[in-house]
């Protein structure tokens, strides 16, 4: 189903704006883009097909990241050289991800327990469930660990963090090597930058997420970027990947412009409201809350899929 077949009732515009405001507020409060919540919830709450939810969410993300990039550029938080180098990998990844979604869109139906179910709905629900479980458990484990360390008053390491494996990747000598003075990196293989871009682009094109939850740790641990520069460069990258994503999904008729507008208005306001409350809550508690919220989303995705299989 594409935007030509899917008619959105214009009366739903205020509700979609309110929905965008809530997801935007959660995203602003927890410091994430919220794409991984937005797409499955658009499907569950409003019955919007996954391909349209992904294409339209990328449009919403493009606007949000443009506004955020302007702010970060003002503070000098963006490594433009790194961002531009990563774009080649990101664009390829977005194209591959969008093509996978296109194949799923035309895959028709599959019979499960005597019921007909869209292949796209089945695959996307399962991929989202796995991704959200992975994210949720990682966030809860990390936040509980931080709270435990804080109670035990164990000091944290200072400097650029990294596991031995990450350090090995960072020091790999695979031609061509590039230097990134803005991030304080003397030499790093271009291939590492391209692979990081490709993987996050793939997630972006297929799932409509910014990919910050993978790109951020990769920039900090694999490349050795300072965290502040990683945040700014990540947003700069999201601006391009979502911009390219919305264009390539537009070619496939997956972008619903009314949906983009309503979500963008809601999330822009919501993100500011959410962000203003973040400072009142402790960091680990915020991440613990987000982990729990993600598990609620997983349960909703699974229930929706179960209902579709049982009741058709």
């Amino acid at each position: 189903m594409s935007t030509g077949d899917f008619i959105l009732d214009l009366g739903a515009f205020p509700w979609l704006m309110l929905f965008g405001l809530i997801v935007g507020a959660l995203g602003g409060f927890f410091g994430v883009g919220g794409g991984f919540l937005m797409v499955p919830l658009l499907n569950i709450v409003f019955g919007i097909p996954y391909n349209i939810a992904v294409g339209s969410d990328l449009g919403q993300m493009c606007g949000m990241s443009t506004a955020a990039t302007i702010r970060h550029a003002r503070f000098g938080n963006i490594d433009f050289k790194l961002g531009f180098l990563m774009i080649a990998g990101t664009a390829t990844g977005v194209e591959v991800g969008a093509s996978i979604l296109e194949i799923l869109k035309h895959s028709g139906k599959i019979s499960i327990a005597g019921r007909q179910l869209d292949v796209m709905t089945l695959v996307m629900s399962l991929v989202y469930a796995v991704l959200l479980i992975f994210l949720g458990q990682a966030m809860i484990r990390e936040s509980l660990g931080t709270m435990r360390r804080a109670r035990g008053k164990v000091g944290l390491a200072v400097g650029v963090p990294g596991t031995p494996a990450a350090l090995r990747v960072r020091t790999m000598r695979m031609w061509p090597m590039v230097s990134l003075p803005s991030s304080g990196i003397e030499a790093i293989s271009l291939w590492i930058i391209l692979v990081v871009g490709f993987l996050t682009g793939l997630l972006s094109g297929m799932l409509g997420v910014g990919g910050g939850f993978i790109r951020m740790p990769a920039l900090v641990y694999l490349l050795g970027c300072p965290t502040v520069v990683a945040v700014g460069t990540d947003l700069f990258e999201i601006m391009f990947s979502s911009g390219y994503g919305v264009l390539t999904h537009g070619f496939k008729g997956n972008v619903h412009l009314v949906l983009v507008l309503s979500l963008l208005i809601g999330t822009t306001v919501g993100a500011q409201i959410g962000a203003s409350y973040t400072r009142k809550a402790g960091g680990p508690w915020v991440r613990f809350g987000l982990g729990c919220l993600i598990f609620i989303a997983v349960i909703m995705v699974i229930i929706k899929l179960w209902v579709q299989i049982v009741h058709g």
Partner: protein, 63 residues
């Protein structure tokens, strides 16, 4: 509401599921320009408001 109806109509020019579907050029342009324009307006709008009101956002924690 007319603008919303126009946006809704813009994507409904043909059968996008049909093989060889070509979207309208205007639809593609609006797909990219709509979010980018709103993003630029919000981003520079904040900068303008901060400048007018003299708000100093701490470096590195601005977003």
């Amino acid at each position: 509401m007319d603008f919303l109806a126009w946006l809704q109509e813009l994507a409904r020019d043909a059968d996008p599921v049909a093989p060889g579907f070509q979207p309208k050029l205007l639809y593609l342009v609006v797909c990219v320009l709509l979010p980018v324009t709103i993003g630029l307006m919000v981003g520079f709008g904040y900068r303008f408001v901060e400048r007018v009101l003299g708000i100093e956002t701490p470096r590195g924690g601005g977003h």
